[in-house]
Structures are given as structure tokens and as C-alpha cells.
Amino acid sequence: MSVPPATDSKAAQEIFISEVFHNLSQPLTALHCTLDLALQRDRTLKQLRASVQSALDNAERLRQRLLLVRALNDAAAPGDPSETTDLSALLGELREDMSLLFESAGRQLVMHLPRVPLQARADRTRLTRALFVFVEYLFRYLPQGELLSLALHEGKEGQAEIQVEAAGCLPVGPTDGDQRAPYSCEIELVRRTFVAAGGKFGFMRCDGQRSFWRATLPLV
């Protein structure tokens, strides 16, 4: 499995910092411009109120991005090694949890679950959060009428494997050549959660219209 965006830690660190910088700089730039323009021009009270509201909205966006960066730190912390999670049940609940969002937007979430439950050694709360964040992230880029599918099965060497296939073009990370792959703080959060649980998470390939992902976790 290729683990994007790069194999060596220095490159990975640069990409991570670049992504965080991008996430934080967008709302901050908007905030700065709004306030700058509000001060430079003669404005009516109504226009000033609109500027203040815009500044407040961007401050909130900035706050939420900072909280996401903090969550990245939490995701890397090792969980309780004795905790086990029924992956089949967890994915079933995720499907129910997300179905209204998909339905409301004319998209489909499909899950292929094994008949026999698969128990993985992982913290259920963190794993639920990570999968929710991942599915929600893919949903943002899923065209209307298209499908996102997750398939769970028993893989090799005592690992549970989740294969994900999603329509839509995801933004790629700031990497070069063959290493170009989708990358975001959300994807990094998911990767860290799986790695902290002793598993793997990575982007496999993109055929121009669909992206393919694979995650593994050690079975009990």
C-alpha cells in the first residue's frame, strides 16, 4: 500500500505544515481583507454590519480549523491496547448515521459487510470519529447521483481490511511526480488514527474519476 504523500519523514513534515498553513491562512486572509476594506472605505452602518458579520464568520472558520489541527494531535495518541471494536457493527452504524446526509444531497453510501462480525483491536470512539471524518470528506467531492462504497473483509495476516471507492476528484497534496495524492488535514487525521491503532491507511490510486483507498487494522 502506498502511504501518501511521501515516504520520508522530512517530506511528510513539509507537506503537513504546508497543509496546515493553507487551512489556517485562507480564513485569516479573508478576515484581514474584510477588516482592511471596512476601515479604508466610507461605509454605511448596514455595510459595516455586513463586514463585521463576515469577519465573525471567518474568525469562526479559523477557530474550527485550529480545532481540527488540535484533533490531529489527539488522533496520534495511542489508544487502549485492550479495547476491541466490532467493525461490522461500527460501519453499519456509520451507514445509518450518514445516510440522511447522502440522501438529502442525492448521493449514495453503500457498504458491503461480512456475514461474520470482524473484531479489531482499536478504540471504538476514535475509529468512529475517523471514519465519520473520512466519509464526510469524500462526500464533499462526490458528484450528485454518484456512489461512495466501503467494503469490509478479512485480509491477510490477521488484518481486517476496508476498501473504499469514491467518485469525484479530490484536491491533491503539494507533492511532485509520482507522489501526488489527495491530502488534507482530514485525511491526515484518519491516517494517524489507523496508525495509532496499529493499522495502516492510504490512498491507492485514482483513475481520473474515482479514488480508491485501503485501510487495515489488526484483528483480535
Binding site: 474568525a59 479559523l62 477557530r63 488540535r70 484533533a71 494531535n73 495518541a77 452504524e93 464526510e136
Partner: protein, 228 residues
Amino acid sequence: MRILVVEDDAPLASFIRKGLEAEHYAVDVAGDGELARRMALESDYDLMVLDLNLPKLDGIAVLNSVRPRKPSLPVLVLTARSRIEDRVQSLDSGADDCLIKPFSFTELAARVRALLRRGPRTVETVLRVADLELDRVARRVARAGRPVELTSKEFALLEYLMRNTGRRVTRAMIVEHVWNLSFDTSTNIVDVYINYLRKKIDSEHTPHLIHTVRGVGYELSCHSGVLV
């Protein structure tokens, strides 16, 4: 209502004080842990807003010292600490709620109101608002005596709104308590779920119970109209 704000960052303390005073609370500010402990023990406050990183005595030590002698004092902890363990430790030490920096004043104010309105802790099995009933144990919901089928997430969302009846809850609060995420989601999932819940709870009944609070979030109450 009298609130003790414990925050060593003077501009932030001033901002919180002014904001809470604008909401008609009486506010005292302590800039270090020792002063905070003394003020909390010697005066009667309705709520304490407590930063964890403090000079002289840190927030956890303040909590450990104050909580045994003021068991019913609501404490809202503010923290910029990144580890989950720090937040867990503050709640285990007796904090009633924990707000992560950076925060918006709207959310701080909403949490302050929620803590101040919280009566003695209840373990009610059935929550009721007007003719809406939610049985937490049997996992049943009924409006005007007619059963309402909800998914587990809709149930959790309705339970959270009913537990906060009459209080404005932000989208971030809903995401944190119902979806268990410490940051807001990138989609409109809260609004989607609220809309579905409205169809099931409110569409065929009066009064409508789920209200949009412009620029804030939602409120479940018997009021009518859009809240601003």
C-alpha cells in the same frame, strides 16, 4: 448572577468580562490560581470560568482545592491544552464543562447559560416538552401520543435538544455532544438532521418546537417563530 472569571491573559480576561457583563452578569476576575482559590472559597459565586494554565497555582489544583468545599459551584474550564487526557483530567477533577481555546464568545455565553440553568442533576427516564415525550430507556418518542420513528442519531439529537430545552445550542455544541467531534464538520450535517427531525416532530403538530436561532444554532422550546 455572579461569575468568577479566572484567566491570566489580561486582554482575554477583559474580553470575557465585558461580554458577560453585557449579558447582565456580575463578573469578578482573578489573574492567578492562588487568588482564584481564595476568591472562590471566600465569596459566593454562581459559576466559575476557569483557565487551566495559571501562574502560582494551575487550574487543576484550583479545582481540587475548591470542589470539595463548593460541590455545587458550576465550573466551566477553558483550556488550550492539546491532549485529551488534560481535558479528561479537568472533568474528573470536578469541572462541569470544558471549552477549548480558541472559542467564540457566543459559545462561551451559551455554555454559561446552560450551566447556570442546570438544576440539580436529574436521572429522568422520560423527557417531556409540551406534548413531545422521549423515553430514554425504552428508546421511544411520541408526539401528541402518536409514536415517532427515529434513527439512533435523530434520537440522540432530539435528546440533546430536549435536555437543553429553552436554551440556545450552537451547531458546534451539537456536533460535539451528538457526533462526538471536537471540531465543526465541513458539511451541513447538523442542519440536514434538524430538517429531518422537524419533519417527524413538528410538521403535523403545533406548536412547532424546534426553532432556528439566527447566527447561533437551534433551540427546542414552546416559543413560536424564528429566534434572533
